[in-house]
Symmetry: C2
Subunit: 263 residues, 2 copies
């Protein structure tokens, strides 16, 4: 019997489907091959960076629960997101964003030039990885009322800490008026915040997250690069339903359940 | 009553004490101020990178369990390792190694120039952070026979995976004949492997880790930059004794006990 996660909708829908259709042409040495799962927030980070930087790429849909032998041959662990560049498979969403910065230096920069400011940006991306994402997943998977209340407070606190690094004078985003690598690190979870709100205690208020986060959230939620990489809400629902019932079998879900690092 | 971790030996000893004595001169704008805890493996990563790259720095000892108000003013979370550069406090050991690469481009490179090879190096550093270090700490803190056996197998498997990325033709280290950022990521735990071996089931054999790891271990353990940043074994013992009895109160120890990400 297949594990339930194998039965996800096979391809992107809505806005993301149009984007995929426009990015199916092989690009050869001029760009990269992007192996992605349409529904996965980690994939969306890399996807947003590719779009923001206008790097040529070919989109290849991968169901991470039902991997094709040809993909496993290239990338034996089968991790997505994966970028293939000059025949070399690369993984880990944040590392891929850094790779795009390094490999395409003439495209729009997503990290600051100053070494100190770049380190600060990386510290904020690290905060998203170590606090925001695990707290989001813990809240999603929490089954008892107490566990949900605790996880919600933890998620709100992580968002507040993230927002403490925003400089309102430049604009609502970390990058100011436009997004940068720090915004991209958290954006996919902003795009999925409604799932928390609909199932885990209602709207995340300014009282919980602070006002600065609310401004960031509003700005990122209407950002064209987030919007064009999102599929229709109805197709996320069955996937997140499994997380909400704590039945998901993704590597991230299993790790979190076991009290381990999200791989 | 102070928590036991406050009672650690206050300063570096042995080889590390000689190095500290040679690095106490303020360096001003020509270098960085390095806030460190002598016993901490994360600090040692940054320390090794500073030494390998021959960057001017001033060593400042911080007891992370008894932080000075002046340090907390600079760095409110009080995290070590911390580098102060142009008045800006920066944290997170792997981010600090990247910072030193960015800020001192004319020093010896610890990461490859090619964008793909740099991404692969970062993926291996990520493997150390997500698999090797948590497994080491889990093994250290495991109290029952079953938990120890399981954690030891997990640590050995993580080391074997790390070693699978070594290219024996270049030399025993990831960097070949000399160390690079990937070697530095794991080196401090190699320097503390004897604690596992003395307390958690004896020597880690080639049967457990594979032969390639054994060669790496031998090479890194005799590397001058690891050796000169190590203190005398007798002063690590009371610190690690608390981990071995699962009494340690460091942020990393508490996180691991609670099934959370090591901060």
């Amino acid at each position: 019997m297949p594990v339930p996660d194998e039965e996800i909708h096979p391809v992107a829908t809505g806005a993301a489907a149009s984007l995929v259709a426009a990015r199916k042409t092989p690009v050869g040495k001029d760009g990269v091959k992007f192996y992605s799962g349409w529904f996965c927030p980690f994939n969306q980070r890399t996807w947003m960076a590719l779009e923001e930087k206008a790097i040529p790429y070919e989109y290849v849909e991968i169901n991470p629960y039902k991997k094709e032998p040809s993909f496993l041959k290239l990338n034996p662990k089968g991790l997505v997101p994966c970028l293939e560049s000059n025949g070399i498979p690369l993984a880990e969403s944040s590392i891929l964003v850094e790779f795009l910065e390094d490999a395409y230096p003439s495209t729009r920069k997503l990290l600051p030039d100053s070494a100190e400011q770049k380190a600060l940006a990386r510290m904020r991306i690290d905060l998203v990885a170590k606090k925001c994402v695990p707290a989001y997943m813990r809240l999603l998977q929490a089954q008892t009322h107490d566990a949900q209340r605790e996880a919600r407070a933890e998620y709100a606190a992580a968002l507040k800490e993230f927002a403490s690094y925003l400089d309102g004078n430049k604009g609502p985003l970390h990058g100011g008026k436009d997004i940068d690598a720090v915004d991209i690190a958290l954006a996919p979870w902003a795009g999925r915040q409604y799932i928390i709100e609909n199932n885990r205690g209602g709207k995340l208020t300014a009282q919980e997250t602070g006002e600065k986060y609310q401004e960031w959230y509003k700005a990122i939620l209407s950002h064209p690069t987030l919007l064009k990489t999102m599929s229709d809400a109805e197709h996320y629902e069955p996937i997140y339903g499994r997380y909400l019932r704590d039945e998901a079998q993704s590597e991230a879900a299993k790790a979190l359940r076991a009290g381990r690092v999200i791989p």
